[in-house]
Symmetry: C2
Subunit: 346 residues, 2 copies
């Protein structure tokens, strides 16, 4: 057995030269009685109790970071907040550039953002079990030296977690950064990659509040080594997270009981939905560790349209995974309406 080698990325080689020489924008909070430094209006709109609408947000989101740090079991300096995970992906690719490697099918934004920023993308198809094609990925890593590898686990739209062992091998083999997007981790029975953070500095983890009842707020978190986050922070817009989202995300993260209840209810419904789908002839659902279920039918286009005719909107995955549809786990009543409608049209 080979000993575990802690991977320390060479930041100077990884960061784009124009970013490396930048300094982060400093917007320090200086205590004072009369604040006339930031071209704010002295008058706000009394729309939200406790929020001064006329003041700029805390540029560092310090209170939110400290609450999330406790939740995640890391230090606030290991966290960067984003206007959704989308923005964090944007910043990661701006900071490190390409090539950007990700398996397919997966969350579409890795590729969309890399292309918007003019960076090379490398797509490696998943294997037949929707797991990572380790051999292919390792050979591409060796040959193309991607700066960033994005792994959504649990993966959207397939619903499964990737093999933890394979993810670890990719982290070990990669001289670039491996970003594990754990947007759906709250619904998973597996442990996630966070325990590896202390041993592998080239591992970053993304989390979001969008799947657990707060999509409206756009709050994403990037967790990782402080030296790496400091580089990403240089390309971050100083006021990227508005005050309302900061305040409400903080409040929600403190309300652990409610969050747990939401997650438990969704997991329970997911398993019921899976059993329901399994019972419909001509429907093949795939096991899910997320808050949605991918399933196969004979004619995805037809099923999609017929469901929409009955008022049920789900995602048609045709063109991404042949003959597949993806349904989000809804409230019990919604799931029943969906199952009933699907049973009638298949």
């Amino acid at each position: 057995m080979t000993p575990t080698i802690t991977r320390r990325p060479d930041i100077k080689k990884l960061v784009r030269p124009n970013v490396l020489k930048l300094k982060a924008y400093e917007a320090k909070e200086i205590p004072c009685k009369v604040k006339l430094d930031a071209n704010e209006s002295p008058y706000g709109y009394g729309y939200l109790k406790g929020i001064k609408t006329n003041r700029y947000p805390d540029p560092q989101a310090n209170r939110l970071k400290s609450v999330f740090a406790k939740f995640a079991g890391v230090s606030p300096s290991n966290i960067l907040t984003g206007n959704g995970s989308d923005e964090l992906i944007y910043y990661l690719i701006t900071t490190f550039g390409g090539p950007v490697l990700y398996p397919t099918p997966t969350f579409s934004m890795y590729g969309i953002i890399a292309k918007a920023l003019g960076e090379k993308t490398i797509e490696v198809p998943l294997d037949k079990e929707f797991d990572l094609d380790l051999k292919k990925i390792l050979s591409v890593i060796k040959k193309e030296k991607p700066k960033l590898v994005f792994l959504s686990s649990p993966n959207n739209p397939t619903g499964n977690c990737f093999s933890a062992e394979r993810i670890l091998k990719i982290i070990k083999a990669s001289k670039g950064l491996v970003v594990v997007d754990e947007a759906y981790q709250p619904f998973s029975s597996e442990r996630g990659m966070a325990p590896l953070l202390m041993d592998y500095e080239n591992l970053l983890i993304m989390r979001t509040l969008s799947k657990v009842g707060l999509a409206a707020l756009r709050v994403g978190f990037l967790i990782g080594d402080e030296k790496i986050l400091n580089e990403v922070n240089k390309v971050r817009l100083p006021f990227n997270l508005n005050s309302v989202s900061q305040a409400l995300a903080e409040k929600a993260l403190k309300d652990r009981k409610k969050a747990r209840a939401i997650i438990r209810a969704i997991v329970r419904e997911r398993d019921r939905l899976y059993r329901g789908l399994s019972k419909i002839k001509g429907v093949r659902p795939y096991p899910s560790e997320a808050n949605f279920i991918l399933f196969k039918v004979k004619d995805a286009d037809k099923a999609y349209s017929a469901l929409l005719n009955k008022g049920v909107l789900i995602r048609n995955m045709k063109g991404v995974i042949d003959s597949c549809l993806r349904v989000t786990v809804g409230a019990p009543k919604e799931n029943e309406m969906f199952l009933k409608a699907l049973g009638e049209i298949i």
Copy 2:
């Protein structure tokens, strides 16, 4: 006299090739009874009346756009919304690339963002009246062909509007885009550049709610030709503006009376503050069309620290404009405290 030539930019030459071939991310709203397509939680947090925290924001911000369109006298298709103007600058530079030209001193984010994105910047110092150095800018435009020219008018931190005639000449001479950032226009007695939009397709105008009482929300607007905005829209993150900011910005824009009252109060105080500054020996304020005043003292560092000691925080412009400080117009009481403190320490 030469006839006015409507400037139609050649989009294919302006847009970066990787962006030109992209398609905008489509997140259409499809009417349905049961919405199970977006991996949202069926359960939200009842924090805000009328806002479903569990649902993603409207990706197009259609209601907000239509309210702002009425306000600005343009069509909603001539508007792009941003998570603050900062984000719109990011998107503009991502879409068109550099060189990026701007006068100095000016709002720092044009340069910061261009550098973060690895694009060349060209800085042309303002003349002695803080106006645009037309001769130099025109010669640079001819030689370096900047893709983007950013002009903040009224300008931060000098407070003056640039000569409208000079701006027009720059628009006419430029084969790239000229972005006039009118963040401070609500406080100006001048007319602004919006009337030129219909004749010059290479003119874009930025507005923000950050200076008029809503900095906390991060809402910026880009106004311009639809074909150009369509290109910028390709690099926009689909859910860049959260639901709360959309809703509250819409509400505030409808409350014209309140907005007018805030602006009037600030302008009145600015003029009073200017007179107060003029009366202090050793202080030379510059006229302002914005919600702040730049002023010269003998020793800016010393004045800055002495004011802070008395609890008054303003902006030290040392290193940007020699021996200058910038004070934001506050509420009457705040301005009095500032004037009193300054009088005591000068």
